[in-house]
């Protein structure tokens, strides 16, 4: 049995009075592709944001690649360097060019030289198919291009795990595909991925495991074959019928 690279045990998270995560326990193995779905406010984003400590969990235990997330800043930084994250709103650095966006973290956090960092950056820009945009500013790119730059920026840190927080939700329909294609390619290369998304077509193609969340709890974990055809819980069934009905 392979040891899990991400391990969540009894994780709880409160926002004031609101319980965003309720006793979440969950494992992700190396190379596994997990797609998390569920209605809005169900805690999907909060869960993956806890994995790189953008949110602090209140109780329970989160271990990433053998490092437990605690108050310890060194631990947090080493986890963040192993875990890439792509946001719904891209969050590129608007004052830097595409290339500068990509080399900033490798130079600062990994202490690479500029030439090394730029070489890696160009490789990844090539992979997301926009090497010709390297010297532009984010505002000059389309949403789909920006999101691909954001993916490349995360990859430049050579992470073991990639987290995607609704990466296509802020995009115009015709740009969703170009981003999903890049993500599918990434999955084929064996990247460990956790993707929060409503793109069920993408989930069917890519996922090893489907996770359904509701009201801060994990309701169902199943491989896509059984998840889409015969979900066990009524709540999952209802959600799927709503999301797949049209």
């Amino acid at each position: 049995m392979q040891k899990p690279i991400i391990k969540l045990r009894g994780v709880c998270k409160l926002f004031g009075q609101f319980q965003a995560l309720y006793d979440v326990s969950f494992d992700v193995k190396l190379g596994e592709r997990v797609v998390v779905c569920g209605p809005s406010g169900s805690g999907k984003s909060t869960m993956i944001r806890c994995i790189n400590r953008l949110e602090e969990h209140d109780s329970g235990e989160i271990t990433v690649d053998g490092i437990e997330l605690t108050e310890d800043m060194e631990n947090i930084l080493s986890v963040r360097r192993e875990v890439g994250m792509v946001f719904q709103q891209f969050n590129l650095f608007p004052h830097l060019t595409v290339l500068e966006n990509l080399v900033l973290a490798p130079m600062r956090a990994r202490k690479l030289s500029r030439t090394e960092a730029e070489k890696t950056a160009m490789e990844y820009l090539e992979r997301v198919r926009i090497p010709d945009q390297a010297s532009k500013y984010p505002a000059q790119l389309s949403g789909g291009q920006q999101q691909r730059v954001a993916i490349a920026r995360s990859l430049c840190m050579k992470p073991k795990i990639m987290l995607f927080d609704e990466p296509t939700s802020a995009l115009d329909p015709e740009m969703i595909k170009e981003v999903l294609d890049v993500m599918i390619e990434l999955a084929r290369d064996g990247m460990t991925m956790i993707v929060v998304t409503h793109e069920m077509g993408f989930a069917k193609t890519v996922a090893d495991t489907m996770v359904f969340m509701d009201h801060g709890r994990i309701v169902e974990v199943a491989p896509p074959s059984t998840f889409f055809t015969s979900p066990k819980s009524d709540r999952t069934q209802l959600f799927l019928s709503q999301i797949l009905s049209h």
């Binding site: 800043m73 963040r80 890439g84 946001f87 590129l92 650095f93 004052h95 956090a109 954001a150």
Partner: protein, 294 residues
């Protein structure tokens, strides 16, 4: 939408004309009602005069005052900017104590009238602080180099400790407003920028330095320039603790010549020239920065 007016028409001319007539009437009335004779020539020697002994043109009180105001402005801008940036960063620090210190500072200064603040600072603090810090001693130093430096940089060495307390006072006062400008600028950067910076593994310091501050600077610059102009104008307040700057000199000359109107009109004009020159300079800087960004 109406077409943008590009030329003045006869109504505008009429308005300008009536304002001009109004001003002339006021000036006339000053002469007749207050029995005031305008005499600009009397105050000229207070700007510049020919020294009887050497026969050279020598600057007098008003020019000395102007120089002093400019010193206050330049040092004040630098000092208050430093205070403002440090306190502004404290204001958003994760350390509760630093936040409390910065908040108390800002609220204390903001909710006291500048005049009262300056009196308190001067009479309670600086009379005791300056000797302790060795400022007085420095001013009385025998070394000609020290004396020369003080004279060039800060004016008459006899008034050196006064000058320092006025400067410190002004800087602390304006620094509080700059603190708030810096805080607001940093906080105006969306949270997603922090998150993106952290998510790629940058330390908090690196996120601040490479992601947040460069973006905040662009937003801070215009209100900061505005605050610097305010600082120059506010520097007239320190005349009340005997800093011999422009306003102080204007009071002196006004009293001794009783050419009240002339001296204050000229003083206003001098402030206007300094401040407007700064406005033009800051505008130019902004335009240059905007061009450099693209």
């Amino acid at each position: 939408m109406q077409r943008k007016k590009t030329k003045l028409n006869w109504i505008d001319a009429l308005v300008v004309l009536s304002i001009a007539i109004f001003v002339i009437v006021i000036v006339r009335r000053v002469e007749s009602v207050l029995n005031y004779t305008w005499d600009w020539s009397k105050i000229v020697p207070f700007f510049i005069y020919v020294d009887r002994e050497t026969g050279e043109w020598t600057k007098n009180l008003m020019i000395e005052g102007l120089l002093m105001t400019m010193r206050l402005a330049v040092y004040g801008i630098v000092a208050s900017a430093i205070i403002g940036v440090v306190m502004g960063l404290c204001r958003i620090s994760s350390n509760l104590f630093l936040r409390m210190v910065a908040r108390s500072y800002v609220e204390l200064v903001r909710n006291t009238p500048p005049l009262v603040f300056i009196f308190i600072f001067y009479f309670f603090l600086s009379t005791q602080l300056m000797p302790v810090l060795g400022i007085e001693e420095l001013a009385r130093s025998d070394s000609p180099t020290v004396q020369w430096l003080i004279r060039i940089l800060c004016g008459d060495p006899v008034l050196f400790s006064n000058f320092i307390s006025g400067l410190v006072c002004l800087s602390i006062f304006e620094g509080a407003y700059i603190t708030e400008i810096v805080r607001a600028g940093v906080q105006s950067i969306p949270r997603g920028q922090w998150e993106a910076g952290k998510a790629v593994g940058l330390s908090g310091f690196d996120v601040m330095r490479s992601v947040i501050l460069p973006q905040a600077v662009n937003r801070i610059a215009p209100p900061l320039a505005n605050q610097f102009i305010t600082l120059i104008k506010d520097s007239s307040i320190v005349s009340l603790i005997s800093i011999q700057e422009l306003t102080f000199m204007a009071v002196e000359v006004g009293v001794s010549t009783s050419r009240i109107f002339e001296i204050w009109i000229l003083t206003a004009a001098m402030y206007f020239v300094i401040c407007y020159a700064c406005v033009l300079f800051f505008n130019w800087l902004e335009r240059r920065a905007a061009r450099a960004r693209r």
